[in-house]
């Protein structure tokens, strides 16, 4: 899968917010706030092909967590990204 085009990740203090600023964006009114780890993953895979394993691996390396925890967190995150329609297959 890939991140959708037209979004820009903006930092707001400790938080980040994904906004639709590009001409390609699907829904301009949608904004998604991201915590530190979600923003880290978004930046890492933006405009690249990736899958759940890619994300879990990145998360494990960055935050020193077990593979099980990483997989669980990534599954939840991917669900929310799919629901927000900010990634495509």
């Amino acid at each position: 899968m890939r991140t959708r085009k037209g979004y820009t990740l903006r930092s707001l203090g400790k938080e980040s917010i994904l906004v639709a600023e590009g001409l390609d964006a699907v829904d301009f009114s949608r904004m998604i706030s991201m915590n530190e780890s979600a923003a880290f993953l978004w930046k890492a895979v933006e405009s690249k092909d990736f899958d759940a394993e890619t994300l879990a691996h990145l998360l494990q390396e960055e935050y020193d967590i077990t593979p099980e925890v990483a997989q669980k967190d990534v599954a939840a995150l991917l669900d929310s990204w799919k629901e927000a329609n900010i990634i495509e297959d």
Binding site: L12, V19, L23, S29, M31
Partner: protein, 291 residues
């Protein structure tokens, strides 16, 4: 004739023939007149004939609602060409050619003179100040105790109504602007709100500015409830309350920087409200810390 205006500390000039009828419809700009033309952020000039722009390339058509203006943005000859109609279905009434830094604009008016001149100036003001910690925002602003309180909300939510509820029911309130004030993060870090020549249907064109007390995003509801917003919530409320060409990176970066500074220093609230005095009291008591 050339006139120079100063809005939110930013000067801009406009040149039109002495006898051009638009001058007669620009009383709202009078309070903002200045003699000093030094350091204008943009210069606007009316032209009689447009150059041949048939090689223009469409970039985007911006339109939202049937009763809202429609704007078409083209790239032409290394410049931006904008064509604007008063409503979604109406014919083009305003053509503008501007350099990519929005510092110089030539415009042609095909009709709806007041609409065209105002739209040109508002667009140029908003775009040319994008990287100057300034935001022309859709809001109604009431002043109280030396501070300005901004009421945001979608068209028809009751921003003006809420301002009027403050003014009628709370002592010491005055309207600063009813539609398009400017926010500016000043050099000392204080966020101030400025009156502008653009106030929608309410003739309130005050050349005045005050520090911002709070920003309140209004929503119609069955009962009055107010809560302070988180940073992302406040950012989103402001984000949808102004428009610009966000795919132009410099512009989007500028707007983001300004918005981020505003929400990190001004308390922002969300108010579910009825159009009644209790909504004004609840809002006033909360945002001024009286309760």
């Amino acid at each position: 004739m050339k006139k120079v205006y100063k809005v939110a500390g930013h000067k801009f000039s406009i040149v039109m023939p002495d006898d051009y009828p638009a001058w007669n419809e620009m009383q709202n700009y009078e309070p903002f007149l200045t003699d000093d033309a030094d350091g204008c952020i943009f210069a606007a000039e009316l032209i009689e004939n447009m150059p041949d722009t048939s090689s223009k390339q469409l970039v985007v058509i911006g339109n939202k609602h049937v009763d809202m203006p429609r704007s078409e943005l083209y790239e032409w000859n290394g410049k931006w060409l904008m064509e604007v109609a008063p409503t979604l279905e109406a014919p083009i009434r305003l053509c503008m050619i501007t350099d990519k830094s929005f510092s110089k604009v030539q415009f042609r008016v095909l009709g709806c003179i007041r609409f065209s001149v105002t739209t040109m100036l508002m667009m140029m003001f908003s775009f040319s100040t994008a990287s100057m910690d300034t935001l022309l925002i859709h809001a109604s602003v009431t002043m109280n105790g030396g501070k300005g309180y901004l009421f945001l909300g979608k068209s028809g939510t009751g921003k003006s109504t809420h301002s009027q509820l403050w003014i009628k029911n709370i002592e010491g309130c005055e309207l600063l602007n009813d539609d398009n004030p400017a926010l500016r993060v000043c050099d000392d870090g204080v966020v101030r709100v400025y009156g502008t020549p653009w106030s929608g249907k309410t003739p309130c064109y005050r050349n005045l500015d005050v520090p911002v007390g709070a920003i309140v995003d209004l929503h119609q509801a069955k009962k009055n409830v107010i809560k302070q917003q988180s940073l992302p919530e406040a950012y989103a409320s402001i984000y949808v309350s102004f428009s610009g060409y966000r795919f132009i990176k410099n512009m989007a970066d500028g707007y983001h920087a300004t918005n981020a500074k505003i929400v990190s220093s001004v308390p922002c609230y969300s108010l579910d409200c009825l159009p009644n005095p209790e909504a004004a009291f609840l809002c006033y008591d909360t945002v001024t810390g009286k309760r």
